[in-house]
């Protein structure tokens, strides 16, 4: 089979890019342990309000864990509980969220915090908040007529 010289260059370039991208993804997955935020944690969507930690939404300081704060969110049509949270700059925060009714989104605009919340499942994301500011938390999965007004606010304060 004859392959043109330039075609060989292009094939080499294409395959190397593919390998490079896969190495980056593989490194972040296997070395840093990054994974999709939907952990294999389940909750009865009918009884979310009674089950810990969702019976007490908000910011909780924790000791002896890899993170400093646990932030518990319960989403339902069409609001987040709590409607506003404040965490100190530089702290490591674990976001724990679920929904009581339909599928909702949980995205803090301008950050990598971006999860889907499915009824019956608990979504978690751990991050170190290293930039002060106010970040709008919004629903990015269409959930009904009030979807566009479904927001909360993450405040990272010094």
């Amino acid at each position: 089979m004859h392959i043109h010289k330039y075609e060989k260059w292009w094939l080499t370039f294409g395959i190397s890019s593919l390998v490079l991208f896969l190495v980056v993804v593989g490194f972040s997955a296997f070395h840093y342990g990054s994974h999709p935020p939907s952990a294999k944690v389940y909750v009865d969507p009918e009884r979310v309000d009674e089950i810990a930690p969702f019976n007490n939404p908000g910011v909780h300081k924790v000791e002896g864990k890899d993170w400093d704060y646990e932030v518990v969110f319960v989403a339902s049509a069409f609001y987040y509980n709590p409607p506003e949270i404040e965490v100190p700059l530089g702290s490591t925060v674990k976001f724990i969220a679920t929904t009581k009714d339909v599928v909702h989104g949980f995205q803090a605009a301008g950050t990598n915090i971006n999860m889907i919340l499915e009824p019956g499942y608990v979504s978690e994301y751990i991050t170190t908040v290293d930039k002060a500011g106010e970040y709008l938390i919004l629903c990015n999965e269409y959930c009904g007529v009030g979807h566009s007004s479904m927001t909360s606010m993450l405040k990272v304060v010094e």
Partner: protein, 40 residues
Amino acid sequence: MSKKREKEPDLKGTLYSVGVLGAFIIITWFMAFYLFIDRF
């Protein structure tokens, strides 16, 4: 039976155009990746 050897086509323009496309893909990929790394 003599078979005339075919002349190689000139693919320089093709190489440049796919090179530009490849560079665009690589650059935008790293821009998005930088955004991901930079944000919390």
